[in-house]
Amino acid sequence: MKIVIIDYGAGNIQSIRFALARLGYDAVLSHSAEEIRQADKVIFPGVGEASSAMQKLRSSGLDSLIPDLKQPVLGICLGMQLMCNFSEEGNTDGLGIFDVNVVRFNGNVKVPQIGWNQISSLKTELFRDIPEQQYIYLVHSYYAPLCQDTIAESDYSLRYSAALGKDNFYGTQFHPEKSSTVGAEILKNFIERT
């Protein structure tokens, strides 16, 4: 099993590697197109700002590589948002994998949303054997509204997509690597069931 975490200068990617190691899997950090294409599983992390992250993807050619991947790909947090059509954050086009536009929270709530919230209406193998209403950890100011690709929902002044899925592509707004044992189960599902 070869797991590659795409390394394009996005913040805290060690945590994902450590979380996989706790499950008994080694992961490689790489920005090489060759290495990413040959992986069995690809994890696409991301923290920071959307338009500058897209800039980094474009300058390294990863923006055309990622949507073409055929193996299971998991975007995490900003990674998931970048897999959408467009983001209001810095008004940037995304990779266009999920047919939805990312927008900013605008209700009577604290922004960013920071902390533990619940997930429900779980779909796909990513959430196999995960009970409804489990708590996961999130930090974000922007969200993907509910759409056809929604595979998990959460509630923060409104219902929004806590995870997206389409064909071989998955994305979680939450951080499975920081979501205690539930998060570990979800990562395990990605590695072993998708």
Partner: protein
């Protein structure tokens, strides 16, 4: 529903926990990694590590510690103490810290907040503010609350938000260590005037204090040290109490 967070804080010096801890189940009470793992298991929602070492090797020692914590612990953690540059933050995030907190260095040079936010994103930049009520006004204090400034707490908090910080950790020096409860009036004012989350710190003595800071202080999270380290409050009991008071918590 987003839950209120309970955050144990560990003081670190030269890679070891400083304040005594009273954990019989710990093999090594001075090992922050083991303590962190136990708190994660007991239901802590996040952890804060506050480094107070002043040696030349502090950067490397802290980076090593952060790495060992990140390897072992599956909940988010923040690292603070003496952080004053992009490079300081870069090393900590690269080794696995989820967030960093800046304090005195941001008061001295507020542009630091903008620089860190631009480079790493709001979500990982916490600004810690220590303040004390002098007469009728809350004044920001530096160097762990020892040095007073003329800066007004509420004005500074507003500026911190404008400059892009993701969160504020507010410690009342008047309440810290007293075990008489959190500074709920000031907390509520902060929470109502700002859009970013506020972490309450200083004054936790019993479980009712946590209820009060979430209800009256409108805090988004509450941080404490000794009540947890000395097992005066068990996190599981605390969360049950909060739940009974209709405060959303992760159980």
């Amino acid at each position: 529903m987003l839950t209120k967070r309970i955050i144990p804080c560990l003081d670190i010096k030269n890679g070891r926990t400083v304040k005594g801890v009273n954990f019989v189940d710990l093999r090594d009470a001075g090992d922050p990694v083991e303590l962190a793992a136990i708190y994660a298991e007991k239901g802590a929602d996040e952890l804060v590590f506050l480094d107070i070492s002043a040696t030349e090797e502090r950067r490397k020692t802290l980076a090593d510690l952060v790495r060992r914590v990140a390897e072992k612990v599956n909940i988010p953690f923040t690292v603070g103490g003496g952080i004053s540059s992009i490079e300081d933050v870069n090393i900590l995030l690269k080794n696995g810290a989820d967030k960093v907190s800046v304090n005195s260095s941001a008061v001295k040079r507020p542009e630091l907040i903008n620089e860190l936010v631009a480079k790493f994103g709001s979500q990982c930049i916490v600004v810690a503010i220590d303040a004390k009520k002098i007469g009728e006004n809350w004044k920001v204090h530096l160097v762990g609350g020892k040095v007073p400034t003329d800066v007004d707490l509420f004005e500074w908090a507003e500026e911190v938000e404008k400059r892009g910080a993701g969160e504020i950790l507010f410690t009342s020096m008047d309440h810290d260590g007293t075990k008489n409860g959190f500074a709920n009036e000031a907390l509520a004012q902060l929470s109502e005037s700002l859009k970013i989350p506020i972490i309450a710190s200083g004054g936790a003595g019993n479980m009712q204090h946590f209820v009060d800071t979430f209800v009256d202080g409108k805090a988004d999270a509450a941080l404490a040290a000794s009540v947890f380290h000395f097992k005066e409050i068990e996190i599981a009991d605390l969360k049950e109490t909060l739940k009974l008071n209709n405060i959303p918590v992760r159980i």
